[in-house]
Subunit: 154 residues, 2 copies
């Protein structure tokens, strides 16, 4: 998986959170995921299907960060992850993926997006089953950490 493929997702995530939630996330170093595991409390996931590629994307938030983003985006601050937070995380995943999809289409990489799935549960972990490289990248904020994971079978 090359940088040309990854960068639009990174740019899209920072852009979506900046414009929608006035939240500046500090990008960490992208790593090939091997032993590194994203643990978080709420994750938005989207399946990706193209003519010749398949893949998946996930964005995992620690609870404290998800609640802060909820507060900044919608003005409410629930005390725990509820249906509204879950919906928001799914929408963020959708916007991030949609932004990257547009940018990648300009370079001839076309794929379709499945509908988002959101998982809520204290300290869950995610395993992308793909026959190809997996990229994981932390994004830090004073309220907590988010992890972006992308993988494609090419």
């Amino acid at each position: 998986m090359n940088v040309e493929f990854i960068n639009p997702f990174i740019a899209s995530l920072t852009n979506v959170l900046k414009t929608m939630a006035q939240t500046e996330l500090k990008p960490g170093k992208p790593k090939k995921k091997s032993d590194t595991i994203a643990h978080g409390d709420v994750s938005g996931m989207i399946g990706l299907v193209g003519e010749s590629i398949q893949g998946s994307l996930s964005i995992t938030f620690e609870e404290s960060l998800a609640l802060e983003i909820m507060h900044r985006m919608l003005g409410e601050k629930p005390t725990e992850i509820d249906d509204d937070v879950s919906d928001m995380v799914g929408e963020i995943a959708n916007m991030v993926c949609g932004g990257a999809k547009l940018a990648l289409a300009e370079h001839g990489h076309e794929f379709g997006m499945a509908t988002p799935i959101v998982v809520s549960g204290k300290n869950h972990s995610i395993n992308h089953l793909v026959d190809g490289p997996k990229m994981i990248m932390p994004f830090t904020h004073e309220c907590g950490t988010a992890y972006l994971e992308i993988c494609f079978n090419k």
Copy 2:
């Protein structure tokens, strides 16, 4: 979402577990998911993308049932959900979805499958974000319960 669309997934799940793990699951009643939430410990998820449809599938297992299936499929019985169990659950989701895809293609319903994502975490819950009906169906076994969820935006 009509029965013609749902039945191949139900048949494929019971068939995969019967042939691969000698495990007979008892299908419960399919319901439109509204308040009904699948809680489980390990879930295999796959995004679905067709020309005019998008959707998602998940199969959620209680830990006790996942470990028993692992024992029957591979002869090992880990004491908790580890990477091998996670991989197995992803493969089951892949086989179930692949079987249903073949059956549906015969009726002119074509879609592509994303790569599976597996989430592990005690008692997590799943929220499929789709603008359309969501179907949830329990499958019971003496070792625990599995939940199949399917949704499409049409």
